[in-house]
């Protein structure tokens, strides 16, 4: 964090709650739901940023959670990908109750630290639903014709369990499966040998996933020689 770039030094514009209509709902994997939303008001986001979603019960009780954007900043809609957690208050509602035409309260974009400026050579090391901000970054890189600037390593349990796996791979991402042997690669978390060559020229690394994944990824990147202050981390954790 010693090298805070100018982007971070600029004061953030305050964000306000707005309403967003659900335009599309689908389920890319068994326990995830993909939502496409049309907000009443919109500030342009940077790839990697997140939104708040707030649910309101008839008696005024509210619950709010953070969700990263998968959408490219140029996308007319906001795209979220939510994993349904057993008994999760918000994620279960979004996955099981929400329908096209419903309206949600949302606020964003937030999280200017975990955001890619689209010009700095970067690596994403992301796991599970932690792929979501990397999808936004990769979509932006592809649109700008600068896929060379962004390398993505996405980690999942097995094919069929990782949202956006095909899209990421088609744009050049490395996929690592922890519980399946695929194409001669043995089931394992990504190794130093796999990640080190991808770090050449990389100035910032984005780590995103569960708390457990994030601590593995942070350690791995440092073992591969990346300086701690070049690593930005977002943990999805138990609402934290």
């Amino acid at each position: 964090m010693s090298a805070i770039d100018p982007m971070d030094a600029v004061a953030a514009r305050p964000t306000a709650w707005t309403e967003a209509r659900v335009v599309e709902v689908d389920r890319p994997t068994a326990d995830t739901v993909r939502l496409r939303l049309e907000p009443d008001e919109r500030q342009r986001h940077r790839p990697g940023q997140h939104y708040l979603v707030r649910l309101r019960a008839p008696d005024g009780y509210t619950a709010q959670r953070s969700y990263s954007l998968a959408s490219d900043p140029d996308d007319a809609l906001l795209e979220l990908l939510v994993e349904r957690l057993p008994d999760g208050e918000v994620s279960e509602f979004l996955a099981e109750v929400l329908e096209v035409g419903d309206v949600l309260e949302v606020r964003g974009p937030l999280g200017r630290w975990f955001a890619w400026d689209t010009t700095t050579p970067a690596l994403c090391l992301v796991g599970g639903t932690g792929v979501v901000p990397a999808v936004s970054m990769q979509r932006a890189a592809v649109r700008l014709g600068r896929s060379d600037l962004l390398r993505v390593v996405a980690v999942g349990r097995a094919p069929g369990h990782l949202p956006y796996a095909e899209e990421l791979a088609a744009a050049g991402a490395t996929l690592a499966w922890t519980r399946a042997n695929v194409d001669g690669r043995r089931a394992a978390a990504p190794t130093r040998a796999e990640v080190t060559p991808l770090l050449e020229g990389v100035e910032v690394a984005f780590v995103c996933g569960s708390a457990r994944f994030a601590s593995y990824a942070e350690t791995l990147l440092q073992e591969c020689g990346l300086a701690p202050d070049a690593i930005r981390v977002e943990r999805f954790g138990p609402t934290g």
Partner: protein, 204 residues
């Protein structure tokens, strides 16, 4: 703000909303999530230094041994993270900021603090939020030395504000006559961060 009711939503965690839980928070129970923006640094106690400087009569620096030699006190109570978890009934030990401020002697014009961590992290607070038994530099949580992930060897503890104000790996408390935004504050988080009135983001 009153907003539109979400069709079909009744809420699951409302049972936990007692007087102790600020709005929008939930009780994390025995868990203790970690949330940092950067890789976890290692601060060895041999290298540890804590300074109180800026608008003070006596800029003062304490080594680890000197810090531990100061009169200690305990905070027993709850903590609240802006990412919506709260943790009840923790016990923290450390030194009250009142002790540190008394030694450094803030000047009359000192009204704000910019707190620095050895990682480069910063956060801003009104000086009033650090005084009168409301803040500590803490090195023990629930009877255990503070782990690296949670800001060990020592972190600031300001439990009446959202926990990003409680800077991990605290190294310097700089007193100023104006409010200068820290890291999350520049990135859109609130300058004060009172959980009871949900001061999460700039504009709240």
């Amino acid at each position: 703000m009153s907003g539109r009711i979400t069709r079909g939503f009744t809420g699951k965690r409302r049972g936990q909303q007692g007087d102790r839980l600020p709005p929008g928070q939930y009780d994390v129970g025995d868990g203790w999530p970690t949330l940092t923006a950067e890789a976890t640094p290692t601060v060895r106690t041999e290298q540890f230094e804590l300074a109180v400087d800026g608008l003070v009569e006596r800029p003062t620096t304490w080594s680890w041994e000197e810090l531990l030699a100061l009169p200690r006190s305990t905070y027993a109570g709850d903590i609240h993270c802006v990412t919506t978890w709260s943790k009840f009934d923790m016990t923290w030990r450390g030194v009250s900021l009142d002790v540190l401020l008394e030694q450094a002697a803030p000047r009359a014009e000192a009204a704000y603090a910019l707190v620095h961590s050895s990682s480069g992290y910063t956060t801003n607070l009104p000086l009033a939020d650090l005084r009168d038994g409301k803040a500590w530099v803490a090195w023990e949580a629930d009877g255990q030395p503070l782990t690296r992930e949670h800001g060990g060897p020592a972190r600031l503890l300001v439990p009446h504000l959202y926990f990003w104000k409680s800077a991990k790996w605290v190294s310097r408390i700089e007193l100023l006559d104006h409010d200068q935004q820290g890291f999350w504050e520049r990135n859109g988080y609130h300058d004060r961060g009172d959980p009871w009135v949900e001061q999460r983001y700039q504009g709240d």
